[in-house]
């Protein structure tokens, strides 16, 4: 028993090491365009993994997370454009306000379930979007905020990639720990059967509110990183199609698996850049894709792989290496 679990542990660490080395060397191998895209993919991964805390592990269909993503981008952009706050302080401060939004929006929305929860979160995020659009003197309205300056140490494509990789790694590790924590385990049990969990003495509302707030926090970090990567912030980031896109992305990868959303994001960007070459109707393709997933891969790509024989093969290949 002990030796088997030790073997699995070594295997796990070995795999992690290979992935880390691969990710670190990637910018020195790939063309610049793909390094840049990978950087943005990582920012989006934080967003998607953040959402998946409530979506996949909490079973709560949050349809307004773009509000937090957009807010994270805008707060950073405004701090850098309108105040003298140094970049690194702005980076740390940016997620605070969106997280506060998370507490307030969560407070009202978690009292309702399923469809009603989705609609309330959607309505609140549209409120954030409306503020961004209407507060022209501050946000520049539809013109957005462009030309955010970042420190020279992270201004080359490769250094920005490595910096984003570091931030993403910390976020992914933290989310992983939260999911595996007593809190995360309680949340998963609530997803399966909230009433049963209530009758073991869990305060469901409190648990859901904490989950929602944490989720908003990570979604806003995703937005902040996106603003750093692209050096701009636009209202679209907070609008509802973005909320829908991230839900579909998580489902594409698989919401009941930890790395499902990551795979979903990679597929989304990859397909977007491929499909974008042939047609401007990318959203229609995305919609069609969503329908196909719901019908044929209800557990997403990663969920499907885990259920199929492929999982066994991949494990065996892993053993060989």
């Amino acid at each position: 028993m002990a030796s088997v679990s030790k073997m699995i542990k070594v295997e796990k660490w070995g795999l992690s090491a290979v992935i880390v080395v691969l990710l670190v060397t990637l910018p020195f191998i790939l063309p610049e365009y793909w390094v840049y895209t990978s950087t943005d993919i990582m920012a989006y991964c934080i967003f998607a993994l953040g959402l998946n805390i409530v979506l996949g592990y909490g079973g709560m269909i949050a349809f307004g997370h773009a509000g937090f993503y957009g807010a994270g981008a805008y707060v950073l952009a405004l701090l850098l454009k309108k105040t003298n706050v140094p970049f690194w302080a702005a980076l740390l401060l940016a997620p605070l306000l969106p997280t506060l939004f998370g507490v307030i929006i969560g407070f009202f929305s978690i009292r309702r379930r399923a469809f009603y929860f989705a609609v309330i979160t959607l309505a609140f995020s549209e409120l954030i979007w409306a503020i961004i659009i209407k507060w022209y003197t501050m946000t520049g309205g539809e013109n957005g905020i462009t030309g955010i300056s970042i420190p020279s140490i992270i201004s080359t494509t490769n250094s920005l990639y490595l910096f984003t990789l570091a931030v993403t790694s910390v976020c992914v590790f933290t989310i992983y720990r939260i999911i595996d924590s007593p809190f995360g385990r309680t949340l998963r049990a609530m997803r399966e059967n909230a009433q049963r969990m209530e009758f073991t003495g869990v305060n469901l509302d409190k648990q859901r509110l904490i989950a929602f707030t944490i989720s908003a926090f990570f979604a806003s970090i995703g937005g902040t990183m996106h603003a750093i990567v692209t050096r701009c912030a636009f209202p679209d980031l907070a609008d509802w199609p973005k909320s829908g896109e991230v839900v579909i992305t998580c489902m594409l990868g698989g919401i009941h698996t930890f790395f499902g959303p990551v795979v979903g994001v990679a597929l989304l960007f990859f397909m977007n850049s491929i499909v974008g070459r042939f047609t401007q109707y990318w959203p229609s393709v995305l919609g069609l894709l969503f329908i196909l997933i719901v019908f044929f891969l209800p557990n997403g790509v990663v969920g499907y792989i885990q259920e199929s024989k492929l999982a066994g093969w991949i494990k065996r290949i892993g053993r060989l290496g």
Partner: protein, 246 residues
Amino acid sequence: MILELKGLSKSFGELKVLNRVSLTLEPKVLCALIGPNGAGKSTLFNVITGLFKADEGRVFFNGFEITGWEAHAICSAKLSRTFQITSIFNRLSLFDSVQAAIISCNKKTVNLFAKGKKLFRERVFQILDFVGLADKADWVSSALPHGDKKRLEMAIAMANEPKLLLLDEPTSGMAPEETGEIMSLVKRLRDEMGLTFIFVEHDMGAVFGWAERIIVFHQGVVFADGLPIEIRNNKQVQEIYLGGEV
């Protein structure tokens, strides 16, 4: 007294489901709650455990008044329940299911950073062993046969370390030998851990075979209350409920 109800009433519109129900329950008793369909048994459970609010009346548990408390607070006070339709965590493993209940019992539900994988491992296996499911700890709950699901639900309820456990039809849908297994499990919990039980049951074999006290509910009131032998010989009970055959 572990449980004391004083004049508990509950109506749904015109229908008075509970009508000034008063009763007391001493600790460590296996008490059966029986009565025809619609007598108000499940409503009584729902009112006691905080799922519904009573229109009037008071509930005392273990010396505390718990009238109007939230369901989770009542459970934290160690009054727990199981459900008529087996209520488990379908996609979780047995280990994770019982562990979640233990996490809740130990008030660790908002602990964000402790490593969860091996948390309370010994306690989980102790409980699973008690209900005879330790060898299936890594099974997915939904894959269990019906009888084992009922045991798992019992394990989840047990993990909360209740003093009083309300069981809503613990043996529904079970084969006779499984019924005996579940009821002997209940008796062992009482004998070894000092739990008190009230169980709603339609299987008269289980009721008269295992209960030490029987409360008969009829039209929202306590119609009869006593030892099994007294209930068996009660002519009125036979008329309203047992069809005169017992």
